[in-house]
């Protein structure tokens, strides 16, 4: 018997007659008969699932979902000054166009004979990132900055055969937590110990004396960020790398690549492994779904051999002058090595690699320089305007894109201020209260190229009003 028909537009063979034809060919009466041969009765769900009435009509579905989503406010309607790991930058329309191309959007695991374009786009992403950071090797992206730092630190540990990493004490607690999960607890065999290096309370930069005191022959790597979690430009990159190298440790630098049109490429100040976040490169925030990490290094076997990621290499083909692509040393990866592999790799954020490649190609060296300059000028201006408000202080001056705003003398908590700013349709800086007690009542403000002077004036006026 054909059961009640439920012909769904996404399921061609839900047409009862088609299903019957197929069952006939299989030699079965119905699906139940086949399932009974596969899955024992005691494990079968013998009832219909209890789920809401479906909305197979596309219009009704859209109406329903849009109804729920209408309860969101977005950074298009509100003025956003929040960053802290996910940032509002301008996304060129061409980036959206390519991100939405169904060839890239719906491809997955095909080979280079069917998907050459995808392989080439990945290679271009690696090449462009290589130029930005000054390295000859990069791979497909990871999940986010945190996972790329976790991978990079484990690479350093395997390369050096050492089990300790030095990280800055001022670091995103979220990111640190992700890294900690990569580094295993003490009871585990490949546990990596954390040693925290302090910062100079005057400048926010790493305290080099503290670093010298903490580094030892046990240190696998020194991980630091540029700009730091609180936006400070780490000018002593070279000194930090040298201190690391003097102890035989790797210098691991986490960067925000949108700064690299104006800030020195990490390779130039001694980085051995570079990692960071690609979301600023033409990828929308997607409520945090726009993140993607990257790793880059010098082109030496001891680094290449330790990457967990897929590394796309260019090669040649039977036809003279034609480019081919393939996976470099694929046996490193967990797809082949399983538990003997270099950590693990999986479906991560490849579409964002394509988008980042488009972004960097659009921007070019001039665009990258300009966007870096514009971000510095606008964020400096915002800091200046805020610092003019009574009770507001900007503790550290040499920053890129993000800066600490201290409200200790303002008589209001950051949470209160942010709540009040919402009435002005402003998302104030991330509340850092509690993350680092010595920073007091502080917020991390983010100003990118998308903020006009008018927006900054509006912020300053609103903060002034809220504190009045």
């Amino acid at each position: 018997m054909i059961k009640k028909s439920f012909v769904h537009p996404y399921i061609p063979n839900s047409v009862p007659e088609v299903k019957m034809e197929m069952l006939e060919e299989i030699g079965a009466r119905d699906a139940d008969e086949l399932y009974a041969e596969m899955i024992p009765e005691r494990l079968r769900l013998r009832r219909a699932m209890d789920l809401p009435e479906p909305l197979p009509s596309e219009h009704e579905l859209k109406r329903h979902v849009e109804g729920i989503l209408s309860r969101n406010m977005t950074c298009s309607e509100y003025l956003n000054f929040r960053g802290a790991g996910c940032w509002q930058h301008y996304v060129p329309s061409v980036c959206d166009e390519i991100a939405g191309r169904s060839e890239f959007l719906t491809a997955y695991a095909g080979g280079a004979y069917s998907d050459l374009g995808r392989f080439q786009a990945f290679f271009e992403f690696q090449s462009l990132m290589g130029e930005l950071v000054g390295m000859e090797v990069s791979g497909l992206p990871t999940y986010d900055w945190g996972s790329s730092a976790g991978n990079a630190i484990r690479m350093a540990s395997r390369i050096s055969g050492r089990g300790e990493v030095i990280v800055p004490r001022i670091i995103s607690p979220e990111r640190l937590s992700i890294i900690e999960n990569y580094c295993q607890p003490k009871a585990m065999p490949d546990h990596i110990d954390f040693n925290y290096v302090d910062y100079d309370p005057e400048t926010g930069k790493l305290d080099l004396e503290d670093l010298k005191g903490k580094i030892s022959r046990k240190t696998a790597g020194v991980y630091f960020e540029n700009p730091s979690y609180i936006g400070v430009i780490e000018e002593n990159g070279r000194e930090i790398s040298e201190i690391a190298h003097d102890s035989g440790a790797e210098s691991i630098v986490g960067v925000d690549p949108i700064s690299l049109g104006v800030l020195a490429p990490p390779a130039e100040y001694g980085a051995d492994i570079v990692c960071g976040e690609i979301q600023p490169l033409g990828i929308h925030m997607h409520c945090g779904g726009g993140l993607g990490g990257f790793i880059a290094s010098r082109d030496e076997e001891r680094y290449v051999g330790e990457y967990p990621l897929r590394l796309i290499s260019v090669t040649d083909t039977e036809r003279s002058g034609e480019y081919g692509f393939g996976q470099c040393r694929f046996e490193r990866t967990s797809y082949i090595g399983r538990d003997q592999a270099k950590d693990w790799v999986g479906t991560a954020t490849a579409l964002w690699a394509v988008v980042a490649a488009v972004y960097l190609s659009l921007m070019g060296p001039e665009g990258m320089r300009e966007v870096g300059e514009v971000i510095i000028q606008k964020s400096q201006y915002a800091a200046k305007r805020l610092s003019e408000i009574e009770g507001v202080e900007i503790p550290f001056s040499g920053f890129f894109k993000e800066f600490l705003v201290n409200f200790d003398d303002a008589g209001k908590k950051v949470s209160e201020i942010n709540r009040a700013l919402l009435d002005h349709k402003i998302f104030g800086g991330k509340d850092l209260t509690g993350e680092f007690p010595e920073l007091g009542s502080s917020a991390l403000y983010c100003v990118t190229e998308v903020r006009a002077r008018e927006d900054i004036e509006k912020l300053a006026a609103a903060v002034e009003e809220v504190l009045r």
Binding site: P12, N13, K19, M22, M38, L43, L45, M49, P54, L55, E58, V65, N72, T74, R82, G85, C86, Q88, P92, L105, A109, A112, Y113, S114, G117, R118, E124, L128, N181, M188, I233, E234, E235, G261, M285, H286, G289, D299, V304, R319, E322, Y323, G326, S334, R338, V345, G346, T347, A350, A353, V358, S361, G364, P365, E366, M368, V374, K378, E449, A452
Partner: protein
């Protein structure tokens, strides 16, 4: 094959597109950056004055300079040279559930593009509701589990998350030093071995019985001990075989003191049929980019949705989206939480698409997805076992969502195997097949998965292409040996890929090694 459609003429686009790094001309611009207003410039001066001299970039990055139409054209051409799922009958990429991603869901996902993840909870109630409902309405019923996390950005990331939770569980119980072994099976996805290994566990891998294709329950009994931390297993396994004693397996592991993590990457044909709860699992994960229709994105962004029992809810990564009857909140109060496995809330745009897809299906539709996928698989089997050179290893007759076939016979009889077939099928506009993860326990493997997206005519056509190619292997082997013929690219030289002197992951490495140019 009677009633067969004539094989289509196909040729992939060939654009001979240069690498973007060698394109463009000095001075061209692809986009203009927002300007800095004069007042700002006057107030703060030049940007350079705010960068410490030691940290200024001295030489601009050697990235290309191109106008906008040229950038767009280049990437459009590269997209044309990529055979996305929507262009072909993508049955060959099994274990990946290459199903249709409804276009309307892309439109809906776009509505959260400009949301910052740290916005106040009151301003993201909509997306929090979607995340909550997808877990507590859909996945709760589909898996039978109690609480959920969408932080992991893919299936392997979810396996990593579960390994971290199991690690934390034994740590809290003071048994981590002793419980250092995870048991898995060779036909479970490699992440079920690699992720626990990265988390610090030793792996015990069970191999299949020659007859059934599954490891025996006796083998599991012999593997458990006071060192057992847990079990990571895919079911149905990548062979399409459902382990009918799976509840016995979880009991054995529990009795030994371990926890059980169910890899539900292959869940498409068991939705509403059988659940992690009744199989006795403590936790499981679904790949939303596979079973729940979010597009694969050339390999992400994706989501490995983690489902756990009440007992393990305190170990979930934070924050967890909760509902107090009035509003949705981010709950950080999880005493044993493993902390974080990814920034913010995960790929919530993926969850949003999956929610919309599941809402369009409902209970009956989801069950229809399962049944049709299973019927499609059994129907394709009938077709494929008529193809010369194709065999179906292992005696277990009925397979669920997919089957791992072998071309060993073809290889023995013609000298041509899966790699040759894979190069040839692309000549017909068919995506090259997923073979198998390593090691190849099944020789010359391929693993088609004809999920509910494909019509009977699609399945017939796909089988017909394989039939044609395998016949060619006997009648005209040369055409396989020299394939592909209609692809974007000719035969690729793979030797440099593993050679440090010749591999090149970047253009600058390529210039140095292959053209003797140093940047």
């Amino acid at each position: 094959m009677s009633g067969a459609e004539a094989l289509r003429r196909y040729h992939a686009p060939v654009w001979d597109e240069p690498i973007i790094m060698e394109m463009g001309r000095e001075g061209e611009r692809g986009i203009i950056v927002p300007r800095v207003e004069e007042e700002i410039r006057r107030a703060v001066g030049e940007a350079e004055s705010h960068i410490p001299a030691k940290m200024r970039r001295k030489n601009p990055p050697k990235i290309p300079e191109l106008s906008q139409p040229q950038v767009l054209r280049h990437y459009l051409r590269l997209s044309q040279q990529t055979l996305g799922m929507e262009f072909d009958i993508d049955i060959g990429v099994g274990t990946c559930t290459m199903k249709y991603s409804p276009k309307v869901n892309e439109e809906l996902a776009g509505k959260i593009a400009e949301i910052h993840p740290l916005q106040d909870e009151d301003t993201i109630q909509g997306i929090l509701e979607i995340v909550y409902r997808f877990g507590h309405v859909f996945l709760k019923e589909i898996s039978g589990m109690d609480e959920f996390s969408f932080q992991p950005g893919g299936g392997s990331a979810a396996a990593h998350n579960n390994a971290c939770m199991i690690r934390k569980y034994h740590e809290v119980n003071g048994e981590l030093k002793q419980r250092n072994e995870i048991i898995t099976t060779i036909f479970s996805h490699p992440c079920d071995a690699a992720c626990p290994a990265t988390a610090g566990f030793k792996l015990v891998t069970l191999y299949p019985d020659e007859e059934t294709g599954l490891p025996s329950t006796e083998a599991l009994k012999a593997a458990v001990s006071e060192n057992t931390a847990g079990l990571f297993i895919t079911n149905p396994e990548d062979t399409g075989i459902f382990n009918p004693e799976i509840d016995e397996w979880t009991k054995i592991v529990h009795e030994a003191g371990g926890l059980c993590s169910y890899d539900q990457a292959n869940a498409n044909a068991i939705l509403g049929i059988t659940r992690a709860r009744e199989a006795g699992f403590d936790m499981c994960f679904f790949n939303l980019h596979k079973t729940f229709s979010s597009p694969h994105g050339s390999s992400g962004p994706a989501c490995g949705a983690v489902c756990v029992t009440e007992e393990l809810a305190s170990f979930l990564p934070v924050p967890v989206v909760v509902y107090d009857g009035e509003r949705y909140r981010l709950d950080y109060d999880r005493p044993h939480s493993i902390g974080r496995v990814r920034g913010f809330l995960g790929n919530v745009q993926v969850v949003l698409r999956s929610y919309a897809w599941a809402m369009s299906m409902g209970a009956e539709g989801l069950r229809e997805v399962a049944e049709v996928s299973m019927i499609n698989n059994n129907y394709l089997e009938k077709k494929l076992l008529e193809v010369p050179g194709v065999t179906k290893p292992y005696g277990t007759e009925r397979r669920v969502d997919q089957i791992r076939y072998s071309l060993e016979k073809l290889k023995r009889e013609t000298g041509l195997g899966i790699e040759d077939v894979n190069r040839r099928v692309v000549d017909f506009g068919i995506q090259s097949f997923f073979t198998s993860h390593h090691p190849w326990i099944v020789p010359e493997p391929f693993t088609p998965e004809p999920c509910e997206t494909y019509s009977k005519a699609d399945i017939d056509y796909w089988a017909q292409v394989l039939h044609h190619v395998c016949e060619e292997a006997y009648s005209n082997p040369e055409i396989l040996k020299t394939a592909p013929h209609n692809s974007t690219v000719s035969r690729i030289n793979s030797e440099p890929l593993d050679d440090p002197e010749r591999w090149a992951m970047t253009w600058r490495a390529y210039l140095r090694k292959r053209r003797g140019v140093r940047i």
